[in-house]
Amino acid sequence: MSGELNIKEENLGDSIEVYLDGEVDIYTSQRLKDKLYGIIEKNQLDLRINCRDLSYIDSTGLGIFVGALKKAKQNGKSIYISELKENIKKLFMITGLDKLFIIEE
């Protein structure tokens, strides 16, 4: 019924990479929140969110990214967001979040 979201994580040594595959919406966002917050609390490392296979995100999902960034900053860490599709990059620009996160191609 609702969009699927698959989340995978990989420890790169100096950071944790999280791969998002599918849709982050009001239905799937709680799982994303639990995952990201859990990773940040467990690891004192930078977080890299790979969005190559992320097809959709709404403000609920963007809000979770912001919350995760606040948590990471408390530990002196950053969040890098990479391989955003154009439609999603547009939302980052509209909301000004492109200035808050480190966006990589």
Partner: protein, 130 residues
């Protein structure tokens, strides 16, 4: 806005798992009307933001909210209604800031607080995007 040629209505429960149905429906309608792919995506995102908010607020009086898609030759008007009249001005809170910026940027015309007969209306014109 010109008179609608056709109307499509969608009645949805206040449940997060059904917001994707609104996204799929409006994508189909906007594509059928001839909006380009990027604009279809914009309309889909804006509609979903409103649905998210309505679902988050919820209702003790109504089981459903309704989305009306008024299709005319020049535009698509999306009207959100609910029998529960307490659901009005749904984006007045600070935590809705992201959603409001998205909706304002993606749609041509949005009525956030209405006279009370409906929750919100938003319009996208074909001419401005083709």
């Amino acid at each position: 806005m010109s008179m609608p040629v056709d109307n499509i209505e969608l009645l949805l429960p206040f449940k997060a798992e059904y917001v994707s149905i609104a996204r799929l429906t409006v994508s189909g309608i906007a594509s059928r009307m001839g909006f380009d792919i990027d604009t279809v995506e914009d309309i889909k995102v804006a509609v979903a933001e409103v649905c998210n908010r309505i679902v988050s607020i919820g209702s003790k009086l109504s089981k459903y909210y309704k989305i009306n898609f008024a299709i005319s030759e020049q535009s698509l008007k999306v009207l959100f209604t609910c029998e529960d009249k307490s659901i009005r001005c749904i984006f007045n809170n600070e935590d809705a800031e992201l959603a409001v910026s998205i909706i304002k940027a993606l749609m041509d015309d949005v009525e956030f607080c209405t006279d009370g007969s409906y929750i919100l209306s938003m319009t996208k014109s074909i001419g401005e995007n083709m």
